[in-house]
Every structure is written in structure tokens, then in C-alpha cells.
Amino acid sequence: MSTPAAHGQSQNRTVKWINDRLPIFTFADHFQDYPAPRNLNYWWNFGSLAGLVLMIMIATGIVLAMHYTPNSELAFDSVERIMRDVNYGWLLRYVHMNGASMFFIVVYIHIFRGFYFGSYKSPREVLWWLGVVILLLMMATAFMGYVLPWGQMSFWGAKVITNLFSAIPLVGTTITEWLWGGFTVGNPTLNRFFSLHYLLPFVILGVVVLHIWALHTVKSNNPLGVEMKGPQDSIPFHPYYTVKDYFGVGVFLLVFAAIVFFFPNFLGEPDNYIPADPLKTPPHIVPEWYFLPYYAILRSFTQDWWFFQIVFSWWGVSAKLAGVLAMFASILVLFVLPWLDTSKVRSGRFRPMFKWAILVFLLDCLLLGYLGAKPAAEPWVSISQWATLYYFVHFLVILPILSRIETPKPLPHSIAEAVLKGGGGAAAGATAKPMEKA
């Protein structure tokens, strides 16, 4: 599968000299030859978009850090200095602030793409795991980043979330004070959060490299969920998917720019423009929108909930601890998803029942997000409890049962067969010489 411009075989003496000692040119060729399914749709654009947002976050973050002061007395004002007096500081900050939201939108769509098309199934389990690890790291990073401007929500959000660890029996208080570096959220907490907020994005970068390595080993899934069987099923990644990804980048940047330049505070909480005040609790403490579903799950565990009483209370677990466990479990369950959904058919297109199950699950997630922003009062609590229950029932009951009882529609024998059906098109396989065509 050689393309005309394979640098690894270049006769240029410098290129050859370097490549013989460190084969970076051969490595670069890999992106050119890398065969991708010819039928990927736009849902496959979101992976490259996530990579782009990570780069944007690191670039803006590093410059912000040059002007930011991680001190509880100075942090709030230093962010305002960035907004008012640093050249294009307002742009850096609004890009970074909204970039976090865009990151989660893109990654959530990327994950639901995986749900619908069964991208977590063999042989892609490790690829999927690495994705879940990235999600967890992103959540930690965004949580600590939100604390840095030291507004009211920064402070009280940090307080509520770190306090959760105190629910752990026996060592809870010790752990919480260890996290704080004191007896409450304060300057030491801010300092360590800044340090970790700087570190974790680079850890994410490392896991992203592993994620792509795993991808290039097992290759992309596709909307049919049928593996590539030969050159007729595939197309070289470059230029076909590079141009498609660039187009996706254009559309994405349009949306991103519209938010940054015209609605920069739409996704934020007004309370975070009030400097942190440890003596004044805001009436509603709400996390950023991307954490709301987990927050709803956390809060749905109340002392008087029948489910809590039946399953947890008799072995001495407090409602708070049960909520914390459920919140973590809501992500951790993704690790075992490949073994919960045992259907051999990957794509939801050929699974008449699964298609509806995943749609209802998506609505359940949106409902949980909505409930996470509501005060902890009726009727929201009861609705959250049912929505939480459904979240886990989907994974632990519905998916395993569906896999057994559902009769999938017949699968095409190959991607090429499905794509070329109806005939007429040139059967340009991976051997096509794209640049000559274009």
C-alpha cells in the first residue's frame, strides 16, 4: 500500500540519514497509508475535534498561567486583570473557559457515537477503556480549573465536592483534610489545584497517544459495524479523512467562535463573578453543566428512598456515601460495558430494539442533567431517583437482556458490498491515487 510521496523511502540524503537513525519519516508515512473504512459518517469527526480542543486548552492555558496568581487573596483579581489589562487576555480567558464546555460537548458526542455504533466491542475494548480514562482525567482537570478563578462557585463547588470524601468510613475526614491541606478549602487547596490543573492536561495528552495507538492497531469501527476485510473496503486516511476532518474543524470553530465572541458567559454561572466568601453560602450551589447528570445521581440518594433502604442502609452505608459510590459507578460502569452488551452485532442500525434503548438512555442522561440544576426538593428528588435507577438499569439489565432476546437485521457481507450496492461508482480502493484524481 505505497503512496507516491512515501517519505520513508525518500532518496534525499538528509532525510535518509535521519530516517536510518530515527525512523520518524516512516512513522509519518503511517498517517498517509493508514487505511480507514470508506463509509465513515460525520459522527466520526468528533475524535479529531476533541484532539483539537485539547491543543487549544493547553495553548491558552499556558499563556493564562503566565498572568494568573494562584493565591486565595489575589486569584480573583488576577483573572480580572487578564480580562481588562492583558493584551487579548479577555480572548484567552473566554476561549479557555468556553473551551472546557466545548471539550465536553465534543467528547460526549464522541462517546454516544461509540454507544450507538458499538465501538466498544471486541477488538476495541482497550481503546474504549483508554477513552474512559481520558474522560475521568478531563473531569478532574475541569473541576480543578473551575476552582482557580476563586469566585463563589469555585469555592463552594470545591467545598461540596471535596467534602464528599468525608463520607468514606473511618478515614474520610483524614482524607478530606489531606486533600484540602488544612481544615477547610483555602489557599493550600488553591495552590495544589493549580499545580494539578497544569499537570493533568499533559497526562491526558499521553493517554490520547495511547488511545490513537490502540486505534491504529485495531482500526476504526464504522456505521455498519462490519470490519474491513480488504482494500475494497478502505480508503487512505490522507487525503480523504484529513479533508473531511478539516471541514469539520471549520464548522466546529464557527460554533465555538459564536459562543466566545457573542455569548461568552452563557454557559457560566453569574455567581462566579462574585469573589469567594467562605462565610456566605450561595443559595444554589450548582456545578458546571457538564457535571450536572452526575450531580443529580449523587443527590438522588436520600435517607428515605426505598431503593437506598433496601439495597444500602442495612449494611451501614450512609445515604451520602451511597450517592458518592453511585456517582463514581456511573462512569466506572463504562469500563465493563463491552461485557454487558454481548450482542455480536455492533451497529445500532441493525439492532431494532437497541436503537430505542439507546435513545431512551440518551433522554435519561439529558433529564438527569436538567435535574442536576434543580434545587433538592420535590418533585425533582423523586424524578432524579427514577432517572438514576434507569441509568443503571440500562447498563446492568436492559443491555444484557436485549443482547439475548433481540433478532438483529441481516448484516451486509462487507462494507464494499453495502456501499457499492446499486453500482456505478468507481471502485477506488486504498490503492487509488487521490491527488491525481483531485
Partner: protein, 270 residues
Amino acid sequence: MLKLARTFILGAGLCAAAATAALAAEGTSPPLKDGDWSFEGVFGTYDSAQLRRGFQVYQGVCSACHGLRQVSYRNLLQIGLSEAQAKQIAGEKTKKVIDDTGDVVDKPRGLADRFASPFPNDQAAKAANNGALPPDLSLITKARLGGPRYLYSLLIGYVSNEECTKAFKDFEGKPLKPADGQYCNAYFPGHILAMAPPITADGQVEYTGENAPKATVQQMAKDVSAFLMWAAEPKMEERKRLGIKVILFLLLLTGVLYGIYRKVWAGIKH
């Protein structure tokens, strides 16, 4: 997939409709009043004459209790004050500095200094205001839901004690009765606050600008809200101007990229 997407959009729409209905049922405050400001909308810009009038209101009324510590005196040049005017305004306030002999002395503020706060510290501010802290106003329009509309509504939303008792209830359902030093406002969360109505009479501030409108209570409230929007977001005009260029550029770029994409894929079945 398309059908699925349509079902999904419908579902999301229904959820959103239910959400707004629930939201509307929750609050007891009347809907916020809009000041028809020039800065609203994608192309909106500040009206600098209005900002200068608003600044007069801030200086003449609000600055007795509220600081504006994120704003520097030099920023006043942005809304059209002359350097001499800004310098003079700055010079009316002092700051503590250490002189050559090591004594702490008062020195007039300059353009590079930030606005002086009316009280030396929070305790003094509370002591002078019935125990309530008048918040710094630098970011107030970004720190409240509804922004300038909330501020405008708050300033003209005071009601008498009798009306208050009739119209509003506390969280236990009992009618509200403002105590001494408390006031009732239709828009303040909980309705009882410690700020006396700051703008009470037409002509309370004497507008000096050419073609200045009559200084009615409404006009002053509108103008000071505009000024405080500027104080919170002084880069708004620059942001929108750059935004329009960026969006136009991205539209062009995305169009070209789409063309290239179609061209490269032409004749490839997928």
C-alpha cells in the same frame, strides 16, 4: 439514523418546553424590565454619551456606598472623558503611600490608580449600612442573572411597605413586613434589602452633556445600568468587532474546505 435523529430532536424539544414551563412557575418576581440599550444584540455598541451620564449617576449617588475597584481612572478616557477631567476626578481621592522619610502619607490618586472604595474595609461598610455590605459594583452586571436588566429593574422596582405586605410572602408563606432600615423591592431575591431607594427624584443628578435627556428616575436608572455594564465588560465592543471578522473568515474558510472535501471525494462511493 436520520429518523432517529429527528425523534431525538423532538424529544429534546419536549424536554426543553417542559423545563421552561417549570422554570417560569418557580419565581415570584415579575419579569425583568428592559432598558432598550444600544449595546444589546450581536452588533450592539455602547452609547458613550449614555455611559458618561451613567458615570455621573455612579459618582453622584452610588459611590457614597459602593466601590468600583476593578476599574482604573484611566479607563474613563475610553468613555470619552478628557485626560484632564479623568485626572481631576482621580485627584479628588487619595491613597496611602510611604514617603522618603518612612511616614505613611495621603497622596492624590492618578490615572493609573484604581477607583477608591468609599469605606476602608468591609466592617466599616457594614457598620455604616445597618449591618449589610454594599457589594463592589465592578462586576455586578455579570454577577446577577439578567445583568443590566436586573439592575435597572432593581433600581426602579421599590414598593411601599403596605404594598409589600400585600404582594409578597416569606418562605413560610407569611406576608412580608420590612423592619426599620429595611426596604422592599419587587426584583430583589426575597424582596427585603438594606439599600434605601438610591434614585428617588427627577433631577437628582444634573446631567451636563449636550443634548442630554431629562434626568428622570427611569433615565438615570437606565444610564447607570449601562455604565455598570461597561464597567464589568469594557472589552465588549472590541470582542464583538473581532468576532464578526472571525466569523466571516471562518465562513469563507469552511466554504473552501467543503469545496475541497467534495472535490477530493468526487467519484468515491461511500
